[in-house]
Subunit: 428 residues, 2 copies
């Protein structure tokens, strides 16, 4: 008999079926025992009255893998309105050691460190699993939106010869006797690949040896990187970012609908055109002095409130950040060169994505590095490529874990990461 999933039971009332999964919970009452089986799709209730079967179930601790054959009976009080009766229950492995927390409670009560120490079982909790399903759907939507717009997926090296992008905070390793570093971003490679495909994206791990022990820093995270050529300026990039986000939110809504229900989360509406304010205007809205070089978290929160009040939007672009606060490869605003063609996207008053137009002329790179007092040599292989014709281009990067955490309201990015890596954590 073919195994069916718990969600298929309502369509099989009256039939005899085989399900399989984990012992999620047992309730051994006087006259009857209930066995809740959890599979990839959800929960199924099994009603046990036979004494021998009851004894077998009593000997199967939570998380034991079992197979149940029984008759599907409608019961409005059971999960999904059906239950399995007259079952045979067969373990598919030895009795499990129950995890150090109850997976059947609505919320995991163990502390986050305990959950992370026991990730292989903690992730089985429906809320933890749901967050990862949202994550998978978001990435699928990202790719679908870009595939539909003729972007080509690329894979770039995660080990590089020089620690270029931000200098510090890199992991060093020994590469066949040579010093090497884990890549902090695919920034340079995706720019070079604009010279090949015009429009590229990459979904992959990036590594930051940041000694910060915060709720939003991971030493490895998944970066959703986009870069596109033949742009007029950063606004062409903002359109692609908006469409990528739309794809992500749409796919979360459709593919992860059950996960969203488990988490009690609604996906926000994304405006067809996200409101945008220039940095100087943003300072004014936030009530900040006009000579502030950057936005503080408090300013961003004020901007989030303003966007909601003025535009009914959870999202807000801030454009034209001062050049002094952006990476050296940022393209200046030709009309106001102290300001950049760089932008941030705020979601509910917190920065979600950073992007912008990049320099595309070799001489501009040389000048930009010189102006910052940075040597050209570590960047030579990257900068040299701009001698060979790279069109005006720009792009952005979305940190997957931060995106998902903010979308579902998780306080800590570690809640939406299967096996986080940070200052303290290298296992499991």
């Amino acid at each position: 008999m073919q195994r069916i999933l718990s969600t298929q039971l309502p369509a099989r009332v009256g039939g005899t079926v085989r399900i399989a999964g984990w012992v999620h919970r047992r309730r051994l009452l006087k006259s009857v025992a209930f066995l809740i089986v959890r599979d990839a799709a959800g929960l199924a209730q099994v009603v046990v009255t036979d004494a021998a079967v009851r004894a077998a179930v009593a000997a199967l601790p939570e998380e034991t893998v079992v197979e149940v054959v029984g008759t599907v009976v409608a019961n409005p009080t059971a999960p999904a309105g059906v239950e399995l009766t007259a079952p045979t229950v067969r373990p598919l492995g030895p009795p499990a050691v129950p995890p150090p927390f109850d997976l059947y409670r609505p919320a995991l009560t163990a502390t986050l460190p305990t959950q992370l120490d026991h990730a292989p079982v903690a992730l089985r909790h429906p809320t933890r699993a749901a967050a990862l399903r949202v994550s998978a759907a978001a990435v699928a939507g990202f790719r679908a939106a870009l595939d539909a717009r003729d972007f080509v997926e690329i894979h770039t090296p995660k080990v590089v010869a020089s620690s270029t992008e931000s200098g510090a905070n890199v992991f060093a390793l020994d590469w066949f006797g040579r010093p090497a570093y884990l890549a902090q971003s695919p920034q340079f490679y995706k720019q070079l690949m604009v010279g090949v495909f015009e429009r590229v994206y990459e979904v992959g791990p990036v590594f930051r040896a940041e000694p910060h022990d915060t709720v939003r820093h991971l030493a490895q995270y998944i970066s959703l990187d986009v870069e596109l050529g033949f742009v007029a300026d950063h606004r062409d990039v903002m359109v692609v970012l908006r469409d990528s986000l739309a794809g992500m939110l749409d796919e979360v809504r459709s593919r992860a609908d059950t996960a969203l229900a488990t988490l009690g989360v609604e996906v926000p509406e994304l405006p067809a055109e996200i409101p945008a304010v220039h940095f100087t205007e943003a300072l004014r809205i936030a009530g900040a002095p006009a000579d502030e070089p950057d936005l503080t978290p408090a300013h961003e929160r004020a901007l989030g409130q303003w966007a909601r009040a003025e535009h009914g939007s959870e999202f807000l672009f801030v454009t034209g950040y001062p050049m002094a606060k952006r990476p050296f490869y940022t393209h200046p605003d030709p009309a106001r060169p102290a300001y950049s063609n760089g932008f941030d996207l705020l979601f509910r008053g917190v920065e979600l994505v950073t992007g912008g137009q990049r320099l595309h002329r070799y001489d501009d790179y040389v000048a930009a590095l010189a102006a910052r007092g940075e040597p050209l040599e570590p960047y030579a292989g990257y900068v040299d490529a701009f001698r060979h014709g790279i069109p005006p281009h720009g792009g952005f990067a979305i940190g997957l874990e931060r995106f998902v955490a903010r979308l579902i309201g998780a306080a800590n990015v570690r809640e939406v990461t299967a096996f986080p890596r940070d200052l303290h954590r290298l296992t499991p």
Copy 2:
């Protein structure tokens, strides 16, 4: 005027259009000059008769980024039957430094090391770009096939605390003062995630510090990993592998059709059921002694010929490899415990994919490690998870670069990798 791509020109005959791209080639004849512009979609021929425009074109070296506005005229002898006449030509950047090889020739004549040294420009050659498009399509097809079968995409750590899977050939790094290693595969993590989602896949980089300087070894490559639970045995895994490959080949056929034409490659037919022979039978077919512990490349070639002759198939499963030659987590064949429930998939007589059923009981892991004289301790975090209920499961991994190289007939995996990493190469 909105920019259009070269492939859109045939539909715009008679109109005035704007295209943009790279100076692919110039031919300055006596009475006329031809400018070939390359964009992401292909090539466009621009006919220049005006003296001033001709002088401008003469000053624009190959790979300069340009924008051309002109009138679309039908010309059966031009690429795609159309050309642009009466053009204005405007550079979108400074004159390019031409690369050290001609990108306009049908094949790149530079040696592979020279191509790799100049990857940002070499990859612009239509054949190199086509290989990467085939790669992107293959990955998209892999994901689509698995998404359709309720697999969940996961992301696992690329830095791990112990060098477990094969012991040697790991890259060591310093993780905030602690020793750590680049992950050689997501093997353990994907198995643990079977406990969460039943069916998972991952597309991500893996790292092998193999001191081999061969045409098929890379120190970083993309592994397409699959693992699924509630299997009866390895044959359930082989069905999913077959369907994943079908998805990959279908997507290459449909999405990368132009790339296939550029490469002159036809996608092989995949049988609905791939023929399978047991290892002992494979030895007999290959004319090898019955006590051989493994198949040599010559044996595999003989098997490839046999599969083509007997089954008309380019693909052949070999099942039941001796346990002694498979990793410790391999599930034995219950009926013949010296043989495994592991398989290889041969493509045209070369191993393409390895997979199998895994052990799923804690005690079996302890025994398997002891039997191999391996200590339990480095594996403890992994093996312990099997105390908590992991169903019978199995999976496989496809090396993306090897798959693409074999599909398109590339002699060296470096030809299908944008920026390869190996014993000697850490840049660009």
